[in-house]
């Protein structure tokens, strides 16, 4: 009964998505207020029914209803309740349902929070989101119904993939999807602006907080994914350049370019065509990622059930959405006027440089991801593009990005005197060069040119941020002054930028140090035996068997000593999940601010001996800490007071504008 209810709710949601995509759009074009007014109720209705469907699937999992194929494949009576819920998005059908659920959620959020928009614009934005929703809902209903039944009913379910039974992975997909799908808001704003023919500062201001929030979720999602891989895969890696990871990284890069470009369009009215193209690109890459992951055209360590029929469906959908939007762009972009002028050296040019670099990097990641496919399609043979290629590319482009990142905040809009900037940045340059050279010399550690470069780049960012802070606060006194400044209009954006850029500095240190100074040891230990690792003593005290809720485990005990003093007790496990009988390593990690000690159990070798893999991972936390700071920066920027003030100010203005089909010109 409940699965049928869920299925019915999905069908009703699809009908409402059709209503949402058709009527408000036509109404906005031929000025029919009644049709325009349909947008919001249709968006709410769609959300309501998808929420019901989602609830039905959750309830089927919680009640172990194995008559539902999807539940029978991914559920199990022994699964802890938390994982019964996260099993909903543990495989293809359910993750699509989560996807449309989040999409309808974003649609409702836009309809509620963007009330200051002229009704016509809002109707168009919601309508475009409805169009995207039609695609995903029909994909769900026609190729991947999560509510399909099976007979005879299995007695027990196939269980959730043990890899996914981890808190990190329970929340990683929802965060990632919040980001992917959130890009549809920026996309819809861009399409609405293109249809209306008015790309201006007001459009940029409206879509900016939405884009920033979506980007923040994407950042959190990617960071969580990396943290999970480190904890769960048992070989200490944190990023694999796997097609599925790249699928999330490409929209992130495009969105990073977009949030910077939006700043220029909002503040200076420049880069309009470019910004709108980036908004289309960011969402297109999200969709492309879905295609790559779901269609099976690329092999990946993330083994999803892939299916060519599904691939064809998404490809057609891609053609409609991306092809349609790029055609609209080609038709409308020539008539867009160029905005504010700027000189050859100004904040605009630096941000343009940032944009170009980010787009180039995105293109390279796309090329690397698709290379196996390109070679195959052209009969050039088979290749796989791995770690070294991607890493080399990042080593080439990152320094340029960072140099611009340091200069940007200190550079004026419109015109900047290079000599003046050089004078300001002299101190930063000296400190970063000095620090970099010190770090490259073999004083504390063995020396490393790469570590030197990383320290130099990070110091460059930090010093230039401090200089920028000093400049901003030069008329304010002490901590009270800082506090005052924090509350000012526009400060959210500024401090968001500071925190996010600082996050990049932290991230660079983490990545480089862990790659340069990582110590790795494969060893066989008998109970009571000790070994040395990077100045620590690790004593192995044997392995005991343990019974978990849905797995059996061998739990090792490893004491970590610094000199004579014990500083940590690690209990790495080797688990065998009862149903899927897949061995899983649960690493034992002693977390530290400047280093992790990571122990993963290998094999029992008889007589209580075990093979073990030990790692010393300096500064690895900084990678995720940096990611977190970047996300916090996004949150600060999105919560800038000026967006809320804009909401209050603009209500009467938009009411006065009525339904003339134009975007209100907010100016700036």
């Amino acid at each position: 009964m409940i699965p049928e209810l869920g299925h019915l709710a999905l069908i009703l949601a699809l009908s409402l998505a059709l209503v949402l995509a058709i009527f408000p759009m036509i109404g906005s074009l031929n000025n029919t207020p009644g049709w325009i007014a349909l947008a919001r109720p249709a968006a709410w209705g769609q959300f309501f029914f998808i929420a019901i469907a989602f609830g039905c699937l959750v309830s089927s999992f919680l009640n172990d209803d194995f008559s539902v194929v999807y539940v029978a494949q991914n559920g199990n009576t022994l699964l802890p309740p938390v994982y019964k819920v996260s099993a909903v998005w543990g495989a293809h059908e359910g993750s699509l349902l989560l996807w449309v659920f989040i999409l309808s959620g974003w649609t409702v959020a836009v309809s509620l929070l963007a009330r200051h928009l002229p009704a016509v614009v809002l109707a168009r934005v919601l309508s475009v989101m409805g169009l995207v929703s039609i695609g995903f809902l029909s994909f769900l209903l026609f190729t991947s119904n999560p509510f399909a039944r099976v007979f005879p009913v299995p007695l027990e379910g196939g269980d959730l993939n043990p890899l996914l039974q981890d808190p990190g992975l329970a929340i990683h997909p929802p965060m990632l999807y919040m980001g992917y799908v959130g890009m549809s808001v920026a996309f819809s704003f861009a399409i609405a602006a293109l249809i209306g023919g008015r790309l201006d500062a007001a459009w940029a201001r409206w879509s900016r907080p939405w884009t920033t929030v979506a980007w923040m979720f994407l950042t959190i999602g990617i960071t969580l994914g990396s943290w999970w891989a480190y904890n769960e895969l048992g070989w200490g890696g944190w990023w694999f350049w796997d097609p599925v990871e790249n699928a999330s990284f490409m929209p992130w890069l495009a969105a990073t370019a977009l949030i910077h470009s939006l700043a220029v369009t909002e503040k200076r009215g420049a880069f309009k065509r470019w910004t709108v193209l980036l908004a289309l690109l960011a969402f297109s890459l999200s969709l492309l990622g879905t295609f790559l992951v779901r269609s099976g055209v690329l092999t990946s360590v993330h083994a999803f059930a892939s299916d060519p029929a599904r691939g064809l469906f998404i490809l057609i959908f891609l053609c409609i959405v991306i092809g349609g939007s790029l055609s609209l762009y080609a038709a409308r972009a020539p008539s867009v006027t160029s905005g504010g002028r700027f000189d050859g050296f100004s904040r605009e040019t630096l941000l343009l440089g940032n944009n170009l670099l980010l787009v180039i990097v995105t293109a390279f990641v796309l090329l690397g991801t698709l290379a196996p496919l390109i070679y195959d399609a052209l009969d050039w043979g088979k290749i796989s593009v791995g770690f070294p290629w991607f890493n080399r590319m990042f080593v080439i482009f990152t320094p340029f990005l960072v140099v611009l990142m340091g200069m940007g905040p200190l550079t004026r809009w419109k015109h900047q005197d290079p000599a003046d900037l050089a004078r300001q940045l002299r101190v930063a340059l000296l400190i970063s060069l000095g620090g970099g050279i010190l770090a490259a010399l073999p004083l504390l550690h063995e020396g490393s040119v790469w570590a030197g470069l990383a320290v130099m780049l990070s110091l460059w960012i930090v010093c230039s941020l401090l200089l920028s802070l000093r400049q901003r606060l030069r008329y304010r006194k002490g901590l009270a002054g800082l506090w005052q400044d924090l509350g000012a209009k526009g400060s959210g954006s500024y401090y968001g930028m500071v925190v996010a850029h600082f996050g990049v500095a932290v991230f660079i240190i983490g990545v480089t140090f862990v790659m340069q100074y990582n110590v790795e040891k494969d060893i066989r230990l008998s109970p009571g035996e000790s070994t040395e690792l990077a100045g620590y003593t690790l004593r192995f005290d044997g392995v005991q068997a343990r019974q978990g809720p849905n797995y059996r485990a061998d739990r090792g005990t490893v004491h970590i000593l610094k000199g004579e003093r014990e500083i940590a007790l690690l209990q790495p496990e080797k688990r065998v999940y009862t149903v899927q009988t897949k061995p899983m390593t649960e690493s034992g990690i002693d977390v530290g601010f400047t280093r992790d000690i990571y122990v993963s159990l290998g094999e029992g070798l008889g007589n209580g001996d075990w093979s073990m893999r030990l790692y010393y991972k300096p500064f690895i936390r900084w990678i995720w800490f940096g990611g977190l700071l970047i996300a916090i920066g996004g949150l600060l920027a999105a919560s800038d007071r000026r967006y809320r003030i804009a909401v209050r100010d603009r209500v009467p203005a938009s009411a006065a504008l009525g339904n003339d089909g134009l975007i209100a010109n907010g100016g700036s």
Partner: protein
């Protein structure tokens, strides 16, 4: 005119991409000739499946023509293939080494005890790390290695008598001569 053409560039790039992706749908990424064919076997050292105290390494492959068969107890096709391997071993035409891939030692030894052991020796690659070096996509896979320790051929998927007769044994005979 060029003013307008410029804005068609993104659409044109997208069209190329769609053509590529459409082609991709009809290709099978799992059919992979190994990039290692013609290259020396990757260096490795692993414990033997039947005895963790003894190791087996790339050095063991020098000086003779041999097969390396990647298998696991969780792999259904390997079970199908196993009988073929046992028969091949009986003919004594070529030495078969095994790479027990992402498996469990107990299960694997039980499997050999039950179904027969066609292998000269088995390397135990529990976490599949050595498998990565060999470019293993999934079990079963079979490599043909010549006297110099160079990989001459890779077969993906279960071996059958036909494949042995048409593909594997002629190459083995050629390498031996």
């Amino acid at each position: 005119m060029t003013r307008y053409l410029r804005y068609l560039v993104p659409l044109a790039i997208f069209a190329l991409l769609v053509a590529l992706l459409f082609r991709g749908l009809s290709l099978d990424p799992k059919i992979v000739p190994s990039p290692l064919v013609g290259k020396p076997i990757p260096t490795f050292t692993l414990t033997r499946l039947d005895n963790p105290a003894v190791t087996i390494s790339d050095a063991d492959f020098k000086g003779k023509v041999s097969l390396l068969n990647v298998w696991a107890t969780w792999c259904v096709s390997c079970r199908r293939e196993h009988e073929t391997l046992v028969q091949l071993a009986k003919t004594g035409q070529v030495e078969i080494y095994g790479l027990n891939y992402k498996d469990n030692r107990e299960d694997a030894n039980r499997w050999l005890a039950q179904l027969g052991n066609p292998y000269v020796a088995n390397a135990f690659d529990s976490d599949g790390r050595v498998g990565i070096d060999w470019g293993v996509y999934g079990a079963p896979e079979t490599f043909i290695i010549d006297r110099e320790g160079i990989i001459r051929h890779k077969h993906i998927g279960p071996l059958t008598i036909e494949i042995l007769n048409e593909e594997i044994l002629p190459l083995v005979a050629k390498l031996k001569s």
